[in-house]
Amino acid sequence: MDVYLHLIAQGLAIGLLTGILYVLIALGLTLIYGILHIVNFAHGEIYMLGAMGVFYGYVVLKLPFAMTLVAILVLSLLLGLVVERAFFRSLRGQWLQLVVASVGLSLIIQSLAWVAFGIQEKNVPSFFTGIVSFAGVRLPMERLVAAAVGAVLVALLYLLVYRTKVGLAMRAIEEDEETARMLGINADRVAALACAIGFALAALAGAFVAPIYSLNPGMGLEVILMSFLIIIVGGLGSITGTVLAGLLIGVLQSVGGVLVGAEAAYGLVFVVMIGVLIFRPAGLLGKA
């Protein structure tokens, strides 16, 4: 019984740590959705690119880890700006076309990735080694650091959205874009910024995940499904909702994996999503 409890506690802890990474990715998605009204199917691929970037920078080019991270941050911000300008802006307001365009984008990135990176799985050695023992639970340093950075980024995002002028503009646009424009807010620029930040969050999540899991160009797909589930449960457009849902699902998947096995845990998460859809269609903290 003791061992059982211990396993659950371990699952809980790991689940929380994984949850924060899920939250990072889902937050980027929610941000892009809130401002641009598009569910970015390419989000998973950005995550994958972040992870691959770490592989190429840190392992292949043997650059310092910190420099790789900065490079990934900058590149993902730029990519977000470019994608918003090139694809999303001209399709503003056309929901169907926007979603389909993002699917197209995700296919392009993935196909190019398969061609460029090949099917051989890649591994990135840990940058932060060691294990921390805490109340009988063993946490790898790598995950702790990743989660810590993730938590910091989430906090920074909160600050941005709720305490800055730009954040205010974002919330205004999310509420009513036309009025926001009439009040002088440059919606296009804010949209570009939102897209850039969203991409950066995904890429950084991928970068920190790189040493933990093995990498392949298809890793984006698994992650995007999880992000969608999180967003449905937490509520599209709600930051707090996404955070809660992300942590919840991370824990559910981890503890569930311990209790009933990984695939069944996956099914459990899906059942939770269906439950939320039936009883609170807008998500736990969704608007309306």
Binding site: Q94, L236, E263
Partner: protein
């Protein structure tokens, strides 16, 4: 004129194949199967619902028939029907919950469902696990197994033509016309106010759509003689989406056009493996950016973009703004 053209095409489909080599027949079979998938998807897209998970229902149909044939020795002819029914049942169950959602919530739920279906098939040995089910038999007619490409081609042709005829006629019935009225939240409210039970209509349309996916999925599996969780993936769902969007949402023939063009193109590029997805995606983006309504652009229907925000209060704001 249209009828003449149609008659010509059907005659060609019936009479020419014996002259073709197996590879051409293979392409024809693949094209026909995907045309039915795309037309089935079109039923609900016309209604304003975008599905990213149709592959899940195709898989349900395929696996059902494969299991019935390999584990219970049941004839594939029955298997086709069974596959359709199983897919329809799941569609009915899931539809009643998810069709209440609009826009992206619906799309994501169907997507999630399809992934879970594949995950379940991957996880349990009774479905063959990651390796899937092999040695799926071809159907038999009067004692002979229809093993050659030519023989199976006619099986596919018959099932496809019946399905396509049904789907075509469906669009022109009062029921089919009513589906158009349910395209957005606002028009749905209007429809309800004149006595249309929107939920029942939408569910039925979804069930019909998935039924045909299930039937064709079963046919597909008996053609491949094999099924695994990696056959009917998210990529198939998106392929279908590409076919429909490129072909155009304006008319029944749009999805067919898109499928024939792109599948033909795809088969040419097949050897290139991952390049197929790349080319599809590029074609999709080019068409979306240039002709948002697809090649057969509708007179009005999606020209203003079919604006359908998923967040409820935004929908009300849009409804207000649209007038």
């Amino acid at each position: 004129m249209k009828r003449g053209l149609l008659g010509l095409v059907i005659s060609a489909l019936v009479l020419l194949p014996p002259l073709g080599e197996p590879y051409v027949l293979h392409v024809a079979i693949v094209v026909l199967i995907h045309v039915v998938y795309a037309q089935a998807l079109y039923v609900i897209m016309r209604m304003g619902y975008l599905s990213f998970g149709h592959a899940g229902y195709i898989a349900l149909g395929g696996y059902t028939s494969a299991l019935l044939a390999t584990k219970l020795g049941i004839s594939p002819w029955i298997g086709f029907l069974a596959g359709g029914i199983v897919a329809a049942l799941f569609a009915w169950a899931l539809g009643t919950v998810t069709l209440k959602l609009r826009g992206i919530y619906f799309s994501l739920s169907v997507f999630a469902f399809a992934e879970v279906v594949n995950a379940v098939f991957r996880a349990f040995e009774v479905f063959g696990g990651p390796a899937g089910i092999a040695a799926v038999p071809r159907p038999a007619l009067f004692g002979t197994q229809l093993t050659t490409h030519l023989q199976f081609y006619y099986v596919v042709l018959v099932v496809s033509l019946v399905s396509l005829f049904f789907l075509y006629r469906l669009q022109w019935t009062r029921f089919g016309c009513t589906l158009l009225a349910l395209r957005t939240r606002a028009t749905e409210a209007l429809a309800e106010s004149i006595g249309i039970n929107a939920a029942r209509h939408k569910t039925f349309a979804f069930v019909v759509s998935c039924f045909f996916c299930g039937v064709m999925g079963a046919v597909h599996v008996h053609y491949l003689r094999f099924v695994s969780p990696f056959v009917f993936t998210f990529f198939l769902s998106t392929d279908l989406l590409v076919y429909v969007m490129v072909g155009g949402l304006g008319s029944y023939w749009g999805p067919m056009l898109g499928t024939v063009l792109l599948t033909g193109l795809g088969e040419q590029l097949f050897a290139a493996g991952y390049y197929k997805s790349l080319v599809y995606a590029v074609v999709l983006l080019v068409v979306i950016l240039a002709l948002p309504g697809g090649l057969i652009s509708p007179p009005r229907i999606f020209r203003r973009g079919g604006r359908e925000p998923a967040v409820p209060e935004a929908a009300a704001a849009t409804a207000a703004r649209e007038r």
